[in-house]
Amino acid sequence: MKKVILAGNPNVGKSLLFSRMTGVGIVTANYAGTTVELKLGHYRYGGKEYEIIDGPGLYSLDEYSETDQIAIKLAEDGDVIVNVVDSTNLERSLNLTLQLLALHRPMVVCLNFWDDTVHKGIAIQETELEELLDVPVVPVSALYNERITELLASVANARISKVAIEPHEQWNCIKRILARAQVLKHRHHTPLERISDFMLHPVGGILTAVLVLLSTLFIVRYMGEGLIRYLFEPFYFRLYDPFVQSIVSKIPLDLLRGLLVGHSADPLQSFGILTSGIFIALIQVFPYFFSFYLVFGFLEDFGYLPRLAVVLDKFFHRLGLHGYSSIPVMLGLGCKVPAFMAARALTNRREKILTIILIFMSVPCLSQSVMIVSLGMRYGVGTVLAIFGILIASALVMNFCLNKAYGKGDLPEFFTEFPSCRIPSIRLMANKLRIRIIEYFSEVLPMIAVGVLLMNVLNLLHILSFITDLIKTPVVWLLGLPPEIAPVMLLNFLRKDASVALLVPLNLSAPQFVVACVFLVLSTPCVASLLTLTKELGMKTALKIFGGIFMVTIGLTAFLHLMFTLFAVLH
């Protein structure tokens, strides 16, 4: 079986092309560095089976970061290299193309974004280019799924180029190639380019950032709320709940019934797998998850994120980071797992660790945020704002101190390329949303089932009461919380949204709710994000980070409790 490698500059559409060639759905976006790990796929063409590998993008074959090294190793190992080129950016792309030719591997050049060349006033003579490079050249449009079959066919005709270029001749050679194979026509700025210019303007950039942030919050909130009120809650209370209750009531085993639907009619308090489990994951959290990723997917595909990174660069500098860290941090508003993975694109270790701590501490993941807001509103807006304010402030202070402790000096320079702004394709956005939804449910449902089951088993074995006894004194004295919170802290490790919901039966006061939420958000990561971080940084560093954050959490929550008590005494 032949190994086909997709190699090319960042953001030339390798992942989408991979998806088109293999039929495997993967998350794609319009900015450099979306792909951080290798994706393997297979396809058959002309009776032969091919293995195809998609890797991170490369600027040149001189290695820089971890991800670059992966991509270079890959290109050297493949049987056939498919060099994906942005045909609207031929000059920049050809540098890598010439370096790849020098590897003396069978190769094909694939001119992606062919659909974009016409209105950008670019005309490329592909036959001329084919002659000059001495390898097959195939124009395609991955976005519109055009000419993918021609690309598959050309892989069989891939050949080793006889062109030999001295490294110092590289740029002159590119100039010669361009002079013969490409004609640029003068054209006017497109409206999208005007928008892009505005987003990069010193004042326009800040205005856009504020506008985007506010409208994101607005859309996510009202869309999520609307979906819950008019679709999900009626579905749950009118159809689902009566149906489940009537079926479960036929089960003769009291224990099993309790496990499945719990003992309370309030779906937030019963804690059955089929009632609370479904209610929290599907009815309370999912509508917001859907709305958030809809808006976020749009921003990603539009190409806005790197433009926002530039505007935020100054702010991130104070934390010892630069603007590109803002992309993983924004991903972390949804879920920490993809955010930690995106941090891999950062070049240096110190930067990676600081970013990861910021991601983890600044804002809870979407599921937990939703539960904190919906339950916190029972105490009033002030309580909710206090929780988020405390979290952000502590994250900033933590990062500021760590940055000072690390010392300055080894922060690499800021560099980001801007993809062209594009009107997102509805089909691609829908596809991406579908992949994220499937990932959400395949993680959420088993975790809730396991979590509820585990709680009940621990309860039966009297382990819960043992743990509760053990941590009773410190919890009451340090944090001012009731000892019954112990099992909630355990569940927090499995599902962070469900753990917040479990606070309801405890009837906490507003200050207690604030302390409990801050504790639940910061003290432990969920299993999924712990595993991801271990994979990214190694067990030792991951444990150090979470151990450190756990200590800080205890200090912080004890301090909050002290403050609240003092405040109460003074009044």
């Binding site: 040149s60 950016n89 920049r92 660069d313 320079e413 390329e417």
Partner: protein
């Protein structure tokens, strides 16, 4: 005509304290102006990335915008836009093309 030339020279002297052939770094270049790259005084990973993108001596780049307070500088070369940090921009020495006011050198 003479008047005009005199005026322009005055403006040039007042606002840009440079002699005729001007070697400045990118942070000093006006927004919206183009320049030829002369030197890249840095050997960092990021600088090598720029080299790979064709930002080499002789290349013509345009400064699109700059984020205030020593923020990133936004550049364009052959329709590709990218941003670099302020410190790195200081290490890229350029010679401006078309010195404003229509005086060609």
């Amino acid at each position: 005509m003479q008047d005009m030339l005199f005026w322009q020279t005055k403006v040039k002297e007042k606002f840009m304290n440079f002699p005729e052939a001007q070697h400045i770094n990118i942070t000093q270049l006006e927004n919206g102006k183009s320049a030829t790259v002369l030197e890249l005084n840095d050997n960092s990973d990021t600088m090598r990335k720029l080299l790979a993108m064709g930002i080499i001596p002789g290349a013509v780049i345009t400064k699109k915008s700059a984020i205030p307070a020593k923020g990133p500088i936004i550049l364009e070369k052959d329709r590709v836009q990218f941003a670099i940090g302020y410190n790195m921009a200081q290490n890229i020495i350029v010679e401006p093309l078309d010195m404003g006011m229509g005086i060609s050198e």
